[in-house]
């Protein structure tokens, strides 16, 4: 498939396929895939169950370049079995992360110190519901492998989550994506652990009405996550917007990038626990209550405002304790 990179830049991130997102994030023509469709590495478990398979198992993974930076890209395809992780695409994801660490080590050996303008970068484009239930036991451990790699990448390789496809980052992918250094999202981005349907099914409609779209967006959507701090930058919906932000951060020293982190230290445990305690104390039952707590008066308007207006008026949770 020939991809016109320039056309791709203007394309809606939300509407782009996993392969388009991967190609468009890195420099024109530089993306090379691991286990591409030609390798035909399909899920053996879906075959046993008589389900349809894809030659890339619903994931595009590989390396491209941004300037001199090798950029390891993992891009999930939500249109195939909910973008969920099984044995093969799970291995693709975790091992691509591992190879980014190996690349860092090789670069350190070659240059003595990894130069800021050459350091490897990880970008994961999320579009997944988490564990693929058809091969649930394998999908679960694949997530743990990813988490170990996410942990190892800290303070070495900039690790950027980009979220803005139809499914967002749900289930176990929800916490994998927040284990990165920086989280970028458009207004379609969603992050969560338990999906609306599952909450309704497990706990009841009085806890969560899964048919209430507005409730879903203000609970799991990017704007709420931006107010509360999980999303670092809220972007317009084009591949170029995401790419430009990544390019702008690419030469920053690692210590600057680590400042955006959401978790991974004793200090951040206390910072995050403090928000949980506030939620318990204030009996938070709607994200609007928490937006208000952090100084927003116009909570009914916030989800509706044009993005530029929203960014101008919104008040965010201050970072730190």
């Amino acid at each position: 498939m020939r991809i016109n990179w320039n056309e791709l830049q203007e394309k809606s991130f939300y509407q782009a396929t996993a392969r388009e997102r991967a190609n468009g994030i890195v420099d024109d023509g530089t993306f090379k895939e691991f286990l591409g469709p030609r390798d035909k590495m399909v899920s053996p478990h879906l075959i046993i169950l008589g389900e349809a398979v894809e030659y890339d198992d619903g994931m595009t993974a590989g390396v491209g370049k941004i300037g001199k930076h090798p950029v390891f890209v993992i891009s999930q395809e939500g249109k195939f079995v909910g973008g969920a992780l099984g044995e093969v695409n799970g291995a693709k994801m975790s091992y691509t992360l591992k190879l980014a660490i190996d690349c860092y080590d090789a670069m350190k050996e070659k240059y003595g110190k990894v130069p800021d303008d050459r350091k490897p970068i990880v970008v994961v484009s999320y579009d997944s519901g988490g564990v693929r239930l058809h091969e649930a036991n394998a999908g679960l451990v694949a997530h743990s492998e990813c988490m170990e790699c996410m942990w190892k990448l800290q303070n070495k390789v900039p690790n950027i989550s980009i979220i803005g496809s139809s499914l967002g980052a749900y289930g176990a992918q929800g916490f994998v994506c927040l284990s990165a250094d920086v989280v970028l999202a458009n207004d379609y981005g969603r992050i969560g652990l338990t999906g609306p349907d599952v909450i309704q099914q497990e706990v009841g409609k009085d806890e969560f009405d899964a048919s209430d779209r507005a409730l879903i967006w203000r609970t799991m959507g990017a704007r709420s996550k931006y107010i509360l701090g999980d999303v670092n930058f809220l972007l317009k919906d084009s591949i170029k917007e995401f790419r430009d932000k990544i390019v702008a951060m690419s030469d920053l020293p690692m210590s600057e990038i680590s400042k955006y982190r959401h978790l991974g230290s004793e200090e951040l445990v206390e910072e995050n626990l403090n928000v949980v305690k506030i939620a318990g104390r204030e009996k938070i039952n709607d994200s609007k209550d928490l937006w208000k707590y952090y100084g927003n008066e116009n909570v009914d308007e916030l989800p509706e405002l044009p993005q530029e207006e929203f960014l101008k008026v919104v008040k965010r949770r201050p970072r730190g304790l």
Partner: protein, 293 residues
Amino acid sequence: MAVKMYLGKADEAVDIIFDKGTFVENKISNRTLDPDLAPPVFIGEAMLDGKICTVMGNNSKRPSPHFRIVYNGIVGMEEAYKFSQGVYATIDEDEKKPKEEKRPIILLIDAPGNSPGKVEEIVGMTKATASYQFAIEDARSAGHPVIGMIIGRAVSGAFLCHGLLSDRILSLPKEYGTIVHVMPTTSISVITKIPLERLNELVKTNPVFASGAEFVYKLGTINEMVEKPEDIRKALLRNISEVRELRMQGKEDQLGIWHRGVLGAERGGRTKRMEAINKMQKEFNEMLPSLLE
């Protein structure tokens, strides 16, 4: 003969595993954890054959006073952060000890899931569970042997944070009430629309969607089955010393989650994973020189 089960009674399992009467809750050497935070979990220190350990588990009998869907052993946000505090207290208290003396962290596993509530989605069950997973990795890298012992439910998201990243995972068999899965085969049948009878037939040869410790063992997820509760103590002692030994020899690749993939291939439960990563390694090796240019 009825067997004693520990599902829902992880707190009682402490007494049969560790030296009698040595468990002190909310104490890690000189550090005291907030006793009012997260009653659904118990964290503290206990002696195992005279040596100090950090012990962490879920107390199914104590619901959360603040979050209504945290009960019966469910791991909520405060619980995951308190587990993290327990791990960091352990790391801090042993900071000056040489690697071979870092105390083990024993995770007694009996948890049915993460809290599927609305407030958890608003505030972030995501970050809570991930924080705990990173804490476990911090402990392992500091030299602490981390052993997960399944005595009840090891289910989905709860297993991901409380157990799966351990150096070693041991489990009692299903005769003792253990439940190890992402979801029951009955639910998988509903979602995949594959008749339950057919699924139950298929799991005999493919453990990847099966429920139960014996199947998960074949995937490498569980390192070792422990036949009965009376054997847990001995198995823990042996595994702690093996983990220490491997860690001292720098054989990290024979510990933890990545080694579970190796075991999964050896036991025939997860062979495609190995095939995939071998191919990727080859592709990467060919690319590497150009990536370093």
